[in-house]
């Protein structure tokens, strides 16, 4: 687990370094006024990322240096780790795209709360509150123009 975390940390730093290098590459042909800041900071960023990568490589397993402003992360106890909650988040987004906000919100709240053991009465009440909030504030008061759901535009 600790080795995996270390590898993940290394890959994440590599990704940040790649973003810095990519920004440098993209900014090359721009006029000086638009690019100078990116070129200076990007070069510095690449150097810092390389330095950070070296630190990540030399770091012992489990000895993660954390900013004092960031509290430690809770590790998910099930075998899927955080994949489970990410699936819910991405699923929520996909449902919004497919069937729209107004239908997705009560379905999602009901499904999530029921899946993790809430009583039916509580799940239904939470769904009704969430739907009422979205409908009342965003639909009726603010007249938010919702995006057309994919299913509706297909059929």
């Amino acid at each position: 687990m600790k080795t995996r975390l270390k590898l993940e940390g290394f890959l994440f730093t590599l990704f940040i370094g790649a973003v810095m290098a990519g920004a440098l590459w993209v900014a090359r042909p721009w006029p000086i006024r638009a690019s100078i800041g990116i070129l200076v900071l990007g070069s510095l960023g690449v150097l810092l990322a390389v330095w950070q990568l070296v630190l990540e490589l030399r770091r012992k397993n489990g000895a993660l240096e954390r900013s004092p402003l960031e509290s430690p992360v809770a590790e998910a106890e099930n075998k899927w780790g955080n994949v489970e909650i990410w699936s819910w988040i991405v699923g929520f987004y996909l449902l919004i795209v497919l069937i729209g906000f107004m239908i997705t919100v009560p379905i999602f709240v009901l499904a999530y709360s029921k899946f993790y053991g809430a009583r039916w009465a509580l799940s239904i009440m939470l769904s009704a509150i969430a739907w009422g909030f979205v409908y009342g504030v965003f639909e009726k008061i603010l007249h938010v123009p919702w995006p057309t759901p994919l299913l509706q535009s297909l059929f």
Binding site: L5, Q52, S67, L69, I85
Partner: protein
């Protein structure tokens, strides 16, 4: 002057004006509570209605009442569920949420509301006292001075990075790059847009803040499978929080002063004030090891500054007709429409209007804090809701907030991307605050730099204001190091038993 003050007060306390002020405060509190619904967009909706008003005092009561309290109620969501309700309460999350997790939500909220009140009361007093003196000062500020100020803000990245400076600097640079996305005003070219129309306008700070702060905390809550609070107590924090503000009165005053200063300088915006004040607290306070883990001083600094900033905003708006931000620009439009002419006349023939603004700022802050304190206990109970009730509601709240900010579906894709970035940063110990600070200040710093160079060449470096600000910047960087050194020397002199 006393006559004008009394006239302003009597006009604001008429039943119509008072009723409209209460309506404004209520709307402002609701908007502050809901992430993604910005104050400016609600003000824009209100404008057509306000412009038809016959009574300028009623217009002041409604608009200023609404604007003054936007950052007060936003502490509820920042503290309880780690979702910044408004851009001015992002830094509140850093210590407010850990306090809620420790079962001290009541203390954190009470401290934040009392600090908001103090900041909200100091602001109008300074507004009143400063009007005659600040005109020459604000007129002497040009783009070079603003550049040094934004540079000063960016140096706070170091303060917010703690013992991982490399990660903090990289996060800050990433934030500056994110702020560069979109059409560039100086050269007319599109930067990092990759021919995507969505990116031409740039990336909204609301999306980044929700993705970086709210979703990773929500994931943490889902992983822990418990309530937000790790204990079963709300704590006896109601009075304790209020006492905290007065115990740290010097910090409260300093944070309020920072808020007023940021508000007074046009263009810096509400999202800067709380970060400046938070970083200042982190830089100057003793025993800093608990910052980020639930230090009440972090909450106080952030909340005192974001409320006092509102009064600071009105100094250039009223005295010179230069709006300090988007909200005051809209209010200025409405004030002109109802027959008020912001500018030097506000200090002479229209002084009663200036006092009406000052009274409204004062009274609306008191009303807003009273409302928030009234609901503090029932709303704090949110901390004890089981994760399966809270997680889906937070996700709904965040997704709707992200969509409502620009009303485009692609905002949700951006939200997912920044959520993943925030999650990875949190997981691997990267500080997230420098990224937001870099984003807030990045484009401002670049614009001021080019404006300075375009107008003065390199001569701007020799301007007295620039040199004074550079000296203050260096002093602020060196002060914590000197303080640490002095502390170490004092510790070394103590006998071992007292250490």
């Amino acid at each position: 002057m006393l006559e004008a003050a009394l006239e302003g007060l009597s006009q604001i306390l008429t039943p119509d004006s008072l009723g409209l002020m209460c309506l404004g405060v209520l709307l402002g509190s609701i908007v502050g509570f809901l992430p993604g619904i910005g104050g400016p967009s609600t003000l824009a909706i209100m404008l057509p209605f306000v412009m038809t008003m016959k009574d300028p005092f009623a217009a002041i009561a409604l608009l200023v009442g609404f604007d003054a309290v936007g950052n007060t109620a936003s502490a509820f969501t920042s503290v309880l569920i780690s979702v910044p309700g408004s851009s001015g309460s992002q830094a509140t999350v850093l210590d407010g949420y850990p306090l809620a997790k420790q079962g001290q939500a009541m203390r954190a909220l009470s401290a934040s509301f009392v600090a908001s009140l103090v900041g909200g009361l100091i602001g109008p007093i300074v507004l009143l006292a400063s009007l005659p003196f600040l005109r020459p000062l604000v007129l002497s500020f040009g783009s070079p001075e603003f550049f040094v100020l934004t540079l000063w803000g960016v140096t706070m990245v170091g303060v917010l990075s703690g013992n991982v400076p490399l990660k903090g600097l990289l996060a800050g640079i990433l934030g500056i790059f994110i702020s560069a996305v979109g059409a560039d005003d100086k050269s007319g070219i599109e930067r990092f847009t990759f021919d995507a129309a969505y990116l031409v306008e740039g990336i909204d700070l609301v999306i980044v803040a929700l993705g970086i702060f709210a979703i990773p905390e929500c994931i943490d809550l889902a992983a822990r499978k418990t309530a937000v609070a790790e204990t079963q107590e709300l704590g006896h924090g109601f009075l304790e929080g209020a006492k905290d503000v007065f115990r740290h009165w010097w910090l409260t005053l300093r944070a309020s002063a920072i808020g007023i200063w940021v508000g007074f300088l046009p263009g810096l915006g509400s999202s800067v004030a709380d970060w400046f004040a938070y970083a200042h607290a982190l830089q100057t306070e003793k025993n800093r090891e608990n910052f980020g883990k639930g230090d009440i001083r972090g909450v106080i600094a952030s909340e005192a500054s974001n409320n006092s900033k509102e009064a600071g905003d009105y100094i250039p708006t009223l005295a010179f007709g230069i709006p300090g931000g988007t909200s005051t620009a809209l209010i200025l439009t409405a004030l002109i429409a109802v027959g008020i002419n912001p500018g030097p006349e506000m200090l002479t023939t229209q002084l009663s209007f200036t006092f009406a603004v000052i009274w409204t700022l004062t009274i609306s802050n008191i009303i807003a804090v009273a409302i928030c304190l009234l609901f503090i206990k029932p709303i704090s109970r949110m901390c004890f809701m089981p994760f399966y009730s809270l997680v889906p509601l937070i996700l709904v709240f965040v997704f709707i907030g992200a969509f409502a900010s620009n009303r485009t579906s692609l905002d949700l894709v951006a939200l997912l991307a920044f959520s993943l970035l925030g999650f990875m940063m949190r997981r691997h110990g990267w500080p997230r605050s420098p990224l937001v600070l870099g984003m807030v200040l990045g484009d401002k710093m670049e614009n001021y730099l080019w404006l300075s160079y375009g107008r003065f060449g390199f001569e701007w470096l020799a301007r007295p204001g620039v040199m004074i600000l550079f000296a203050l910047l260096l002093l602020s960087l060196c002060y914590p190091m000197l303080q640490d050194r002095m502390n170490r020397q004092t510790q070394a002199k103590l006998p071992p038993v007292n250490r």
